[in-house]
């Protein structure tokens, strides 16, 4: 059960990253910082403004998407067509800048994010789960479903998929590629922020929390294959469950190690990802 809680948020992180990577060919090292941003946005909404948990997640998505869109527009758009190394360096810069900005604004002490749920676990037959975690799981599932609908059922999503497959022909159809890039980056960052807002109250919020999250997101993308949405979703769930099982049956100290062992094994035997059939988006 807890594996699904973790897995759902990993999937959100992974979907965001795989979209950005797949569509824009940008290795987004700052992805984890949008996760941190989401956690602090949730903290501000819940502790500062006294809003509800759903409002906190929505607020986080809006913050993440706005800052993500701005980052793309200001820093990445002028570099379109530059090599992947250049944008990688820029994103490392964004990562460092955002992390230090968070340290400056919120301080280095970890914050516990208050949430309105009772701490008494709900017992459903053989499983016991905290109501907060149940809610996190449901919201994550809802957001994943919403992402699928956006990508597969809307005109914007169709244009995103077309751009991923053949950007020049998409431009011939009248798709404004630059706008698709901005929207994609905003969307991916919004999902990362949502993940941060969801997991923040489960754990703690602190400025460097995004580093590990980014690593997890990259793992999920590797598991699922580049630009592969179902892959990222399944990869996220798999990683979450594997970590939870590893923590339960081996030792909780090895929680993060278990995930990376899986990645190494996957890379050894299926280097293009567990679910890779071909490069794809959607």
């Amino acid at each position: 059960m807890n594996g699904l809680v973790l897995g759902g948020t990993y999937a959100l992180l992974g979907i965001g990253l795989t979209l950005i990577f797949g569509l824009m060919n940008v290795v987004n090292f700052a992805h984890g910082e949008f996760y941190t941003l989401g956690a602090y946005a949730a903290f501000a909404t819940l502790a500062g403004l006294g809003g509800g948990f759903v409002a906190a997640v929505l607020g986080a998505i809006v913050c993440g998407a706005l800052l993500g869109g701005l980052t793309e527009r200001v820093l990445l758009r002028p570099l379109r067509g530059e090599s992947i190394d250049t944008t990688m360096l820029v994103m490392i810069g964004v990562w460092i800048a955002m992390q230090n900005a968070e340290l400056l604004v919120w301080g280095g002490v970890a914050k516990s994010i208050p949430h309105p749920f009772p701490t008494e676990p709900l017992v459903l037959g053989p499983v016991a789960i905290a109501p907060l975690r149940l809610f996190v799981m449901a919201l994550a599932a809802g957001l994943i479903a919403a992402s699928y609908l956006l990508i597969h059922r809307t005109k914007l999503g169709r244009a995103m998929r077309a751009t991923f497959q053949d950007a020049e022909t998409a431009a011939l159809m009248g798709v404004k590629i630059a706008r698709i890039h901005t929207v994609t980056f905003a969307f991916g960052s919004g999902l990362a922020a949502a993940a941060g807002a969801l997991l923040g109250p489960v754990f703690l919020a602190y400025p460097s929390m995004g580093d590990l999250a980014a690593l997890k997101a990259f793992s999920v993308v590797i598991l699922g294959g580049l630009g592969n949405l179902p892959g990222a979703t399944l990869g996220g769930l798999l990683l979450g469950i594997a970590e939870e099982l590893g923590a339960g049956y081996v030792s909780s100290g090895y929680r993060d190690a278990v995930g990376f062992v899986i990645i190494i094994v996957v890379l050894l035997f299926r280097p293009s990802g567990l679910f890779a059939r071909q490069e794809r988006i959607g």
Binding site: K155, R161, A162, Q165, M173, G174, V175, I281, G282
Partner: protein, 242 residues
């Protein structure tokens, strides 16, 4: 067939364009009148595809004027040029392999706002290309080369263009499919859409065109009614193999 008279629908005047330091177009002059089928022939690397790319806005012209229907379109975004009425059916078909046939067709109508008319057009196109109608939910990448060519043409038609640009429509297709494709292009023209076509198979292209242009190293070296070009010694030697 004789070429209709009247003012040109599309004019290129002294157009220059380059890929980085490599010049692709070096002072190109060309005109297409409404209702005409014009073909552009020339050797590999002469700049035929670049001409089409400059018209549809994929390649920015550095100098010269491109005028469509009385309006300067040089330097506009591809989206605006498409909205003005020029659709480009690119070389190698370039269908979106992991979109369904229906989604590919919908991409062709991406700039259109008249949703109801788009739905009507989708049905009409499917009637016109029964092979596509049977495969509407299939991924375009699973279609055969000929079917992909039909889809690429149908997709371009979804924009309801007044001028259609075809880049090497016969490339890589079996002879019978080439014949079908050229039949469709002739049909599109018969229905009133003006056509500018780049084609490697100079004989086939000139046989169905009204007029032709011969390109060498980025400029036009010869132009005239298609029948005259077919009989021209230089053209016969260089492009018709005899």
């Amino acid at each position: 067939m004789s070429a209709p008279d009247g003012p040109a629908l599309l004019t290129l005047e002294d157009v220059h364009a380059a890929y980085g330091p490599v010049a692709a177009l070096a002072g190109l002059d060309l005109a297409v009148r409404p209702g005409e089928l014009v073909c552009l022939i020339g050797a590999n690397g002469a700049g035929k595809s670049s001409t089409l790319r400059a018209i549809s806005g994929l390649l920015r012209a550095g100098r010269g004027r491109i005028v469509f229907d009385g309006r300067e379109i040089g330097g506009l975004e591809p989206a605006e040029i498409l909205r003005a009425g020029i659709a480009h059916c690119p070389e190698g078909r370039r269908v979106f392999p992991h979109l369904t046939v229906d989604e590919n067709l919908a991409m062709g109508a991406y700039v259109r706002r008249d949703r109801r008319a788009v739905t009507d057009d989708l049905e009409r196109v499917c009637e016109h290309f029964p092979i596509l109608a049977e495969r509407r939910r299939q991924m375009a990448g699973t279609l055969s080369g000929g079917e992909q060519q039909m889809l690429a043409i149908a997709r371009a038609l979804m924009a309801r263009p007044r001028l259609m640009l075809f880049d090497e429509p016969s490339l890589g297709l079996a002879p019978t499919v080439v014949e079908t494709t050229f039949g469709i292009i002739a049909d599109i023209r018969r229905r009133g859409t003006t056509v500018l076509m780049v084609e490697q198979n100079a004989y086939l292209a000139l046989r169905m065109a009204d007029r032709g242009y011969v390109m060498e190293t980025g400029r036009i070296v010869l132009e005239g009614p298609a029948a005259e070009l077919l009989a021209n010694d230089h053209v016969r030697r260089a492009y018709l193999g005899g």
